[in-house]
Subunit: 363 residues, 4 copies
């Protein structure tokens, strides 16, 4: 069973290689009658698109999405929604030098070992280009969530050692505006400035650096998440860990929670505007794997991009020593472009669990 | 689609409530002809069993497992292996006071909201008792991995602020022996001593504390993990996050990797004993979601147990203010008993991906 | 991926061998709050139970079902419902002579070839005893359907060449009463009498005979069935073909429809009591794979039971010629006991599609 | 869970409406290194293509397939293979008169009732045009089967009352040649002649007629099929019943087997060229749901096409009486074009079970 499908009821299957003809996605299970706003889908893709600023790769791709099926007169019909994103800049010769050489901390060796054959051009299927298909499908998930009043917001919370302060307010529209006003996509303008300077220096060094993205989900209905294996945070964790370069996931109190005492950590229940709420939110909006109506929050750690502009020792497919130097056009730091991917995957998880929750009780 | 099933080809479905008649599991997909060692399965359950030491809950359960099907003359037959663990100590009256009151940071409220009905006794389905079924199935997964030479080892790497040093050797048999010589299950005896003292103090305070478990997997074949969504670490992450009280997962360089540069983080390839290996292992044994033959390593963060022996303010199902005080028999720190659960879930993931890898290439 | 699971949202996984400790089932996905009537479940099992009349096997099994989980104070809780049916009459010695000999038209050879190991006692997993677990789960599906006003009725429509007339009325309660008044479970008393005589003669010959079961489903809501692969009749067909000894399935006009012209076969739409209905029902209540509100009807063909009391030539596992003579206690005709299995599988399919339909449209 | 996916390990997901931009398929799970012959895929599509002869619809579509991903230098890479078939002849105005009127025995009403929205153009998603995507994926399944020496052959065995004699030899290459020498695709030339005359008359009447397709699979390895629900014939049955217009499926002795006695029906084992074989083959090559090495055979019944060139009474979406007359370009008999669809779906099932069988036993 190959692993190119995600979700149970709101389910996507993606396809495509970095330098093939096209990449794309089939979304199966989108409820009928949802208005599908193509401009919105495209605007989401534009946030992930390469070449959007001086701190991203200069590879040129318009990433123009086309809907092939499943939408009629502007609305979903309940049938599969297929979306296609042609690959335009197939400058494969940049990658010809990599045919037989295993780039350090890339997937060249493991793909070769697993399949015995590999589309080496630009990383082939292992390229983060595949995530454009997720963003397209995630945009439709966002449209469904919006219909239900659920909001998602992610931003860059750290780059290297530069850490943004915790968010001090939760007006999603304002946060989005602030975030999009800087090219690193951090909702704190002062930190954003520092981050951009830092990344630019890294880029000039021919090096790369990691970072973190934090995400909040507001107005999630109580009751999403399926015990015991498909807990809401377990599905979110898998979704995030499936994004290229992610090495860690935590929600609520996260790793810091492992150092706390129960008497500090417990979220006391109270009633607020007639609804059960908690005084604190170390649970991150999820208890027993099920959303409790509080804000859901989580963080995702990205390792530094593996392609650097330095000479590196490595081996080739024959097991001989070789030397490699990055020549393609790559990102010095992946997190600014990954913000919308994190949101897309979160939206896909929430949409899926929303549909799954429709059958929890007798009606 | 309810979430009580885990795995694709080596697949478990668990059932049972904390204070019902029994809990259990069906394992479907175990290859035929595997010798099934019932004593080993029981010995694994004994490591998770309540009442095993002064720093665990004093609830009494022998957790005796019975195999109902799928094994003939000591070997798996390829048909479903059903295992049953009767609940013996159904002292439900301990929980009667909780019928209508929502315990802070438990799943009482969310289950009620999701299903509109709840088996309140001992947490019902949300109890960590369910994990015994996973341990039984995980033991069979370990037997399959052992057949293929793959070894798994987890231990308690932190309790509260007490952090064990990194493991300095990787002889699994020795590590297991050392770990089992102390009741906290830390492979560093000096740290273990500190941890036990600390937990004992916490227990006397009527409080609880969180901790971390670290796990390594040795001799994993190259090529396990299915791109793009079912990356090996994504499946491991989901498995871990599905364990009660887990709030975080990281592998390889983890969260610390988000602060590193590519030039530090890249794992240089070399050839060792004829096999491609890497000089460092910030990749945690997984590249592009596929095992690369190096040691796989990850860490799991557990929040403190929610049940404390203090008075706590809360609300009841009617939304009225209420007070609650833990009366049951609970763990001051969950990690010593969770070590075998982490191993079991890791074994289930590896077994599943091992089977899935059988069809990657033409034969 | 082993095949012991059926259904997507209302999903069962069965386990157990004919002469093992027990057989059973986990039902995952039953909506919470459904009243679970244990007596009804047992009464369904009684209709499948061996030894119930002179024209069934004389093997003695009470087939007493026990619910282990998922039900609290008489209602489903939304967690997995596990049910256990202990095997009582494990008279395995009857089968010792079959250890190495492949019984003609049984699964002995194919199981051996597939798995290289086989629980030969009573056919092991290949025994129709497994269907008792389906009947138990199907009974809960019936309870769910009843809650939604959907009714299912099956009966024996032919035995050998003896064919019952088509049903002339559709009062399910009356049909059920009439059917249960004879041991062959045909709703036409005169035909039933003939069938019983015929089967009794076959039994005295030490032979067996095939037959057909016809099923109708009333009050099925419009809109069940998921195009394009999970058409309602495709799911029903698979469900029926998964029952032991079934060799054919047809719905609506069935095989006879292949000889008709479109001008005869088309079901003209009209409005009846404000609802779209059709004048004829060659579509069998399903159009484009989706229920149209008319009565659903289908037929299932069963081959004759393979175990006969005659000497038969065969081979053993070593490929040597051997002779075999049935000694166990077997059915001369399987259809009277299979009626409730057909109903159970149909109920499982309808319940599953009913839940799946909850997410077809935006709400 | 929407139903546009088929298969477990060799898995397809199709998309597209009759008069949308394109239809297509993602095939996930094809083993790496399989040579992909695009010409062969196209030649299979040509057999299903409209406008191929006087007894098929005159709608013009070249049905030219394009591979978008998953193939590199002529071989599968183990990543998803996406294939696109643009819709050329989108002459939707032919269908404008059907916007609100429910065509008898079509899926117009049920789609409307299920989704509340419908792409009415040419039947939208319910059109048999979707099966072109299956044929493309099925062609790759055939390439995989060919690699393993497995052969599939289907032909038209009846049209209306005209029934072909049973096949008298089993040389697949010869049978294919004979079949393709006539436009009705019957392997018996004399019968083919009759069928063509008959269909041509039907066409001139503006009417349609049903028919049957029979299929054999040769050299299928012993051991395919997963008990208990995913029996090989249950998967084949579901595959066939998911094809538009299919109303019945039988394998081996089929419906006729329900009239036989066990003493006639049992297939006696013997050894032939060192392999266990059976003297007769009423089992249709499958015992206990598992292939036994004998020829697999089954038949599929198709109802007459619903679109006829006569005036028919019906209703519209408002529930008012309406009249309809077919105007589009439709097939008088669907079976000649469906032969390759039957083969494609059979190939997909066998490929899937072949991969699933790789993990049955310990290796």
């Amino acid at each position: 069973m190959a692993g190119n499908t995600f979700g149970q009821l709101f389910r996507i299957t993606t396809f495509g290689e970095s330098h093939g003809i096209a990449i794309g996605v089939i979304l199966d299970g989108c409820p009928a009658q949802l208005p599908i706003d193509l401009d919105f889908i495209q605007s989401e893709l534009d946030k992930r698109r390469p070449g959007q600023s001086k701190i991203t790769t200069q590879r040129k791709e318009s990433d123009t999405v086309q809907i092939l099926s499943g939408v009629f007169e502007g609305k979903s019909t309940g049938t599969p929604i297929a979306m296609l994103i042609p690959n335009e800049d197939q400058r494969s010769k940049d990658y010809n030098h990599n045919t037989d050489v295993y780039r350090p901390s890339h997937a060249d060796y493991t793909y070769d070992a697993k399949y015995g054959i590999r589309d080496h051009r630009g990383g082939g299927r292992s390229s983060a280009r595949e995530t454009a298909a997720r963003v397209a499908a995630g945009a439709i998930a966002k449209l469904l969530l919006k219909h239900h009043g659920i909001e998602i917001f992610a931003h860059v919370s750290s780059v290297g050692h530069i850490q943004a302060p915790n968010l001090t307010h939760d007006n999603i529209d304002e946060l989005l505006t602030t975030r999009e006003e800087n090219i690193v996509r951090c909702a704190d303008p002062a930190t954003a400035h520092q981050m951009i300077e830092f990344i630019d220096g890294i880029r000039k060094d021919g090096d790369t650096v990691g970072g973190k993205i934090s995400c909040i989900i507001k107005n999630c209905p109580v009751g999403l998440g399926e015990p015991v294996f498909d807990k809401l945070h377990a599905d979110l964790g898998k979704a995030m860990l499936s994004i290229n370069a992610v090495h860690g996931f935590e929600y609520g109190s996260g790793f810091a929670g492992s150092e706390m005492r129960g008497s500090e950590h417990n979220d006391i229940f109270l009633v607020n505007e007639g609804q059960p709420k908690t005084l604190t939110n170390f649970s991150g909006g999820i208890q027993g794997g099920i959303s409790n109506g509080m804000e859901i929050n989580f963080s995702v750690a990205f390792k530094p991009v593996a392609t650097i502009m330095h000479n590196q020792q490595t081996i080739n497919a024959a097991g001989e020593a070789a030397e490699i130097k990055g020549k393609g056009r790559h990102d010095p730091c992946v997190v600014p472009r990954a913000v919308v991917i994190v949101e897309a995957m979160a939206a896909l998880v929430i949409a899926d669990q929303l549909l799954r929750s429709k059958t929890n009780k007798l009606d």
